[in-house]
């Protein structure tokens, strides 16, 4: 007997797909280890920032007699009057380095796992609307990144409270919350980019390498082109904010690349929120930076949705 035609399901499917994806992701030990490394580094970064600030203060104390002996006016402590959140400056580096890579791995695994295990052709054979499947996958990514950053924020808050001589006002706590919200948006963009790449590429290695390459370009090549920041200096939150040399070349490349410099925009917004460095004059500023990060999310979200809805129902990946 002929079966009645079934309309693809959409209602209630998104949370089901999302929940199941999260369950599978939690069983992936490699992703968990990377996430743990990220959390450990975020907590460690707070301690490192505090320790480095203390060292500079001690250096200044020891330098004072030498400076006074010169008879010249004594310069102020370069780290004096630094806001309490400034000791978290290294977090911007860890979130834009480790966090972005964890988000890439998460986004990649969420799609690649279904393709690798051969689950995707089975899902495609069911009356399930592909947009609902894509929506569920994206929701799982956004929730997992929010969870990861939520734990990181709790770890940071505990570390900040335990650090002596670092009183936090309610405005500081609010800035910390804003910092983690912006970080969530920033990491989501990379996660969505990796999801789209995993759906688009037949080779897993290429699928993983495309967002990693994009991340490398945004993290190392763009800052060098726009402000002469050498690749390893880009790892230092202070050096990465140094003004470019006076040159027509940088006057041109800075503004031209700024609307595409996702990592640069995040660093500027984060530096302003944590108060450790003034924003780069060639950067987009707070509003521009937030707009760029939001546009990146919308663009990568739309591309991922398009890639997933057009994915062949027979598709399963191999590694080569």
């Amino acid at each position: 007997m002929r079966q009645p035609m079934t309309t693809p399901q959409t209602t209630g499917i998104v949370p089901v797909v999302a929940m199941n994806t999260l369950r599978v992701a939690l069983r992936d030990r490699t992703v968990l280890w990377l996430a743990l490394l990220f959390l450990a580094m975020v907590v460690l970064s707070a301690y490192l920032g505090w320790s480095a600030t203390n060292t500079v203060n001690h250096i200044y104390t020891q330098a004072l007699p030498m400076l006074r002996a010169t008879g010249l006016p004594v310069p102020p402590n370069p780290l004096a009057d630094m806001p309490p959140l400034a000791m978290l400056r290294n977090m911007t580096t860890y979130i834009s380095l480790l966090g972005a890579l964890v988000a890439i791995v998460m986004g990649f695994q969420i799609i690649a796992e279904d393709l690798r295990s051969g689950v995707f052709p089975l899902i495609a054979s069911r009356p399930l609307h592909r947009a609902a499947y894509a929506g569920g996958k994206m929701l799982a990514l956004l929730v997992s990144i929010a969870g990861l950053l939520g734990i990181a924020a709790a770890g940071t808050a505990i570390t900040v409270v335990l650090m002596p001589g670092n009183p936090m006002s309610s405005a500081d706590w609010f800035s910390l919350l804003k910092f983690y919200s912006v970080s969530w948006l920033f990491l989501s963009a990379f996660g969505l980019m990796a999801m789209g790449s995993a759906a688009w590429s037949r080779s897993e290695s290429v699928a993983l390498l495309v967002p990693v390459t994009a991340w490398l370009v945004l993290t190392f090549v763009f800052p060098q082109l726009s402000a002469n920041i050498n690749p390893m200096a880009a790892l230092n939150p202070i050096k990465a904010m140094v003004a470019p040399p006076v040159s027509a070349f940088f006057d041109f490349t800075g503004p031209v690349l700024a609307p595409f410099s996702l990592v640069g925009a995040y660093r500027d917004v984060a530096a302003t929120l944590l108060g450790f460095a003034p924003a780069d004059p060639s950067s987009l500023g707070m509003t521009g930076g937030l707009t760029l990060i939001s546009i990146a999310n919308l663009t990568f979200g739309a591309l991922t949705m398009a890639a997933l809805t057009r994915l062949s129902g027979t598709r399963s990946n191999t590694d080569e």
């Binding site: 030990r29 490699t30 280890w33 990377l34 490394l37 580094m41 460690l44 970064s45 490192l48 320790s51 480095a52 060292t55 500079v56 001690h58 250096i59 200044y60 020891q62 330098a63 030498m66 400076l67 010249l72 310069p75 370069p78 780290l79 290294n90 380095l97 480790l98 890579l101 791995v105 690798r116 080779s203 290695s205 290429v206 993983l208 390498l209 990693v212 390459t213 490398l216 190392f220 090549v221 060098q224 082109l225 002469n228 050498n230 690749p231 390893m232 790892l235 230092n236 202070i238 050096k239 140094v242 040399p245 006076v246 040159s247 070349f249 940088f250 460095a277 191999t318 590694d319 080569e320």
Partner: protein
């Protein structure tokens, strides 16, 4: 010719042929070349900006009556323009090594040809040596191309005439880069050969890349107090080098800790050796190459030791056929 040597040669040639067809290698190579070009271009532009700024300051001082003899121009070290170039090799070269190492095992696993290969009269050692040899030739080829273009870029973009000594220094850095990238190749190959799932192997390899190349140097960098202020804390306070050394004596423990963190990173050994050889680090500027290499022998031994231990691990650990079938 000995049977094993014939097998090694056949495996190596097959690897080179496979590598040449891989889109990944092309992608990473093009990226490394493009990044190296960008670094040279930007370094040349920044140098020109420095020269303009120096000339401006000189003219101002001369107009104020300063004698010309007191305004000696700063020494120009052309190989310093390669700083960003070396740092890109540090970051992207390691990715190249991991990608090739992973590919060498994963391509066989994906096609399930590795268990088949092992049913042939082929020893474990022959298999490893053949695979490694083919990939080392490919790595050296890519790096040679990168360094040759780097040297040409110095001449064309930087407007620098390279002496025989400069070329020897670039050659020494090329050898160090080959060892460094070879280490990451061996790491990616070892993990992809011995881990149950190849996707976990590549993720772990990238995780280790992250720790060795980015996280450890970043921690070392953060622990350096001079890096906590944009222009450097001692420069901001106008403290001269002898006084700086005197002050830093009280921070011996934290300096030792910082050095130990950096010592644990192969990337840092490659960087320290290359910066010394190319004269990027001021203390080694104008020193003979042999003296520099001798002084940085610790970094040479570290690179050789790390690379050698992974090769030894590849040779010692027997292949488990049950691990070599995808899924």
């Amino acid at each position: 010719m000995n049977e094993s040597l014939i097998q090694i040669r056949a495996l190596a040639w097959k690897e080179i042929a496979d590598v040449r067809r891989t889109k990944l290698l092309l992608m990473v190579t093009v990226f490394m070349l493009a990044a190296s070009f960008v670094s040279l271009l930007v370094a040349a532009v920044a140098l020109k900006a420095d020269v303009v700024s120096y000339n401006g300051a000189r003219e101002l001082l001369l107009s104020l009556g300063k004698p010309p003899d007191a305004l000696a121009p700063p020494a120009f070290m052309p190989l310093k323009l390669l700083r960003g170039f070396v740092e890109y090799i540090e970051i992207i070269g390691a990715v190249l090594g991991i990608v090739l190492g992973h590919r060498a095992a994963a391509s066989e696993r994906g096609r399930n040809t590795l268990p088949l290969l092992l049913t042939r009269p082929l020893s474990n050692m022959t298999f490893i040596v053949g695979k490694c040899l083919g990939n080392f030739i490919a790595i050296s080829g890519v790096l040679f191309l990168t360094f040759a273009l780097g040297a040409l870029g110095l001449v064309a973009i930087g407007g620098v005439a390279l002496s025989a000594d400069d070329l020897a220094r670039i050659g020494a850095t090329f050898v160090a880069a080959s060892l460094y990238v070879g280490f990451f190749f061996s790491l990616g190959f070892l993990l992809a050969l011995h881990m149950r799932r190849s996707v976990h192997a590549v993720l772990l390899a990238f995780g280790l890349w992250l720790v060795f190349v980015l996280v450890t140097p970043q921690i070392g960098d953060t622990l350096d107090p001079d890096n906590q202020v944009g222009a450097g804390v001692f420069r901001t306070l106008s403290i001269a080098k002898p006084q700086e050394k005197e002050i830093m004596k009280s921070f011996k423990t934290s300096e030792t800790l910082r050095d130990s963190v950096e010592q644990s990173s192969p990337a840092k050994h490659f960087e320290r050796l290359s910066f010394a050889v190319l004269g990027i680090k001021d203390t080694y500027a104008n020193q003979p190459l042999a003296t520099v290499v001798q002084d940085r022998s610790g970094d040479v031994f570290w690179l050789l030791g790390l690379f050698g231990s992974l090769l030894a691990a590849l040779a010692i650990f027997p292949l488990n056929v049950n691990h070599l079938k995808e899924n």
